[in-house]
């Protein structure tokens, strides 16, 4: 009896400690978002008001209205979303194939090739950005296409080409994740499929892919989020800067310019924070939808084990 009581006490205590730890970690993570959210409803004078910390005194939606217009949201968002999801799907397809190839087949040079995958991941973008720019400006495929080559800049082609070939931003990581994941899957399923007469591609598509759902969802999510957020590469390769990230960057200044006013740094910051909320909201929605999907994944499908 006493033993049972003590055990219950321990489990209650354990839950309490866990709850405290989780809540405080959540607070640390949420604080920047809360700060943005709160300030997006403020007027500029609330920023100088010492008594205002978390609750705005003068609640306003002006910031949202202005930023929505000056980010060209209705036009830039669909374009950016389509771009991000499209490229992410290409990256997902290529990285999954390549990752599976590394995980399950032994072939001469596979370790070297995999080393190169990690290598592309580890080379910082700053090192290759200018040569890459020149390469895409005069795209000759090592001289196969006659000089001066094709100008791929200003189009989606750089991203498409890098997407289907698993050399896009952080794609080495995706290949790595897929490889580790496939390696961790038991071999029996594939063997059964082979015995039933499936070829490697069929086995991959019908047996391995359904089991890899959590990894697929994660890679897709990362790829989408990183393409959507990307500023550095898209600005460099697309010239026009009409994606949402570029619009967000200059929206506040555009607004000031359009009404011919001078904005203080504080007001610009207020507008920028509102813009950031507008910018991340679609990502949050996508993310919440997908997270439900990969949380239930393995436990439910039960294909592994």
């Amino acid at each position: 009896m006493i033993k049972a009581n003590r055990r219950r006490l321990y489990s209650v205590l354990g839950s309490a400690v866990r709850a405290i730890v989780i809540v405080s970690i959540c607070f640390v993570i949420l604080r920047p978002v809360l700060v943005k959210l709160v300030s997006s409803f403020m007027l500029e004078r609330d920023l100088y008001d010492q008594t205002v910390k978390w609750i705005p005194r003068s609640f306003t939606l002006e910031n949202y209205r202005n930023m929505f217009i000056h980010m060209h949201y209705t036009e830039a968002f669909p374009r950016t979303a389509l771009f991000a999801v499209g490229i992410a799907l290409l990256q997902l397809a290529s990285c999954t194939l390549v990752g599976y190839g590394f995980a399950r087949f032994r072939f001469w040079g596979s370790n070297l090739l995999f080393g190169l995958v990690i290598f592309t991941l580890v080379v910082p973008p700053q090192i290759i950005i200018l040569p890459l720019y020149l390469n895409l400006r005069f795209f000759t495929v090592w001289g196969l296409i006659p000089e001066p080559g094709i100008d791929l800049l200003g189009s989606y082609w750089p991203f498409i080409l890098m997407g289907i070939s698993g050399t896009g931003f952080n794609n080495g990581l995706f290949i790595f994740i897929m490889r580790q994941f496939f390696k961790g899957m038991p071999r029996e399923l594939e063997e059964a499929a082979y015995i039933d007469g499936a070829n490697p591609l069929q086995t991959f598509l019908r047996v391995m892919l359904p089991g890899a759902k959590p990894a697929l969802v994660i890679v897709f999510l990362f790829a989408t989020v990183w393409m959507y957020n990307d500023y550095f590469f898209t600005l460099m390769f697309m010239r026009s800067g009409n994606l949402l990230a570029h619009r967000l960057d200059i929206a506040a200044h555009n607004y000031a310019h359009s009404i011919g006013a001078f904005f203080t740094g504080q007001y610009i910051s207020l507008l920028n924070n509102t813009g950031m909320i507008l910018f991340i909201t679609p990502l949050l929605v996508l993310y919440i939808l997908m997270q439900r999907y990969f949380v239930e994944s393995v436990e439910r499908t039960g294909i592994i084990g």
Binding site: I25, V35, S39, F107, I127, G184, P200, V298
Partner: protein, 305 residues
């Protein structure tokens, strides 16, 4: 029958062909999209680059750019040491935290979905454009500073903590490490999103039958953790180390990255900033090879052969 025989390869040969086919996208991408710019960047770092109206000209200057970066530039060696130092310190903390967080999030408790959503938020919030904007944002800097004492743990009291740890007679180096780690807790938490996700996906892919077997054999929860969970997650530890290091040294807000980007078009010249990226890159590569090499010896794969 006869057609089949003509194409018959050995089992191993067929496996190799599959391996090459699956990894073909990357092989092509590496040769077409990556290798050329990469080799060019080596040449750039050894030359003086002059951009003109019609194109660019290169003059070979040998190792002088490297000499400039290491011995002439006043800030680079110091920044390099600092960045490398904080990477050495930060990566193990991120790993431990994300491992712990993933295990926490894998347990069943009320509000688990919400907690998961929040824990992975930094993946979305910590991407390119948002980081760039936040690093120069008034509200973020101002309001964060207003409540920054939470990070510095006023509620425990830094000195009390130090005293407690002293009392426990811990070695001094470990002590400083813990205290410095505690001060960076918000940073650590916010840069662990991807790592937690990777660990969590791994946790979910461990077949429940493994635990059932362990339970039947009479293993306690503690033994289950060390005999089942930990070894099966070990491949992902390598993934996460690689990711943490790469993420750390390519974030746009990393002081060294900022410094290199500033130098790219500054007085020092493009060649010198290339040389700096190369030195930085070399340091990180050595670190990466050492840790990954050491740890992957201990890694357990489900698929042993």
């Amino acid at each position: 029958m006869s057609t089949k025989r003509r194409f018959r390869l050995s089992l191993r040969g067929r496996e190799a062909v599959c391996g090459y086919l699956f990894t073909l996208p990357f092989t092509l991408g590496f040769v077409l999209m990556f290798l050329h710019p990469f080799l060019q960047s080596v040449i750039f770092s050894l030359s003086k680059l002059e951009l003109g109206s019609t194109g660019y000209s290169l003059t070979f200057t040998g190792l002088s750019n490297y000499h400039n970066a290491l011995f002439v530039n006043a800030d680079f060696p110091r920044l390099l040491l600092e960045t490398a130092g904080s990477m050495f310190g930060g990566v193990p903390l991120i790993l431990v935290f994300s491992f712990f967080a993933a295990i926490l999030l894998n347990q069943r408790f009320k509000g688990r979905t919400v907690a998961r959503v929040i824990f992975f938020l930094p993946v979305i919030l910590g991407a390119d454009i948002i980081l760039r904007m936040e690093s120069a944002d008034y509200i973020t800097l101002f309001l964060e500073e207003g409540i920054v004492d939470v990070d510095e743990m006023t509620f425990v009291g830094r000195d009390q903590l130090l005293g407690l740890l002293m009392y426990m007679k811990l070695p001094e180096q470990l002590l400083t490490y813990i205290v410095v780690g505690a001060l960076r807790v918000a940073d650590i938490i916010r840069s662990s999103g991807v790592q937690i996700l990777i660990f969590l996906a791994g946790l979910q892919s461990i077949p429940s039958s493994h635990y059932e077997v362990a339970k039947i054999e009479g293993a306690t929860g503690w033994e289950c953790f060390w005999m089942v969970t930990f070894p099966l997650l070990s491949p992902l530890i390598v993934t996460n180390i690689v990711y943490s290091i790469v993420d750390f040294f390519t974030t746009p807000t990393n002081p060294l990255v900022v410094f290199i980007e500033e130098n790219m078009f500054g007085s020092a010249g493009y060649g010198v900033s290339m040389a700096m990226s190369w030195i930085y890159f070399a340091v990180v590569t050595v670190f990466l090879l050492l840790t990954a090499g050491l740890i992957s010896r201990k890694v357990v794969y489900m698929d042993e052969r």
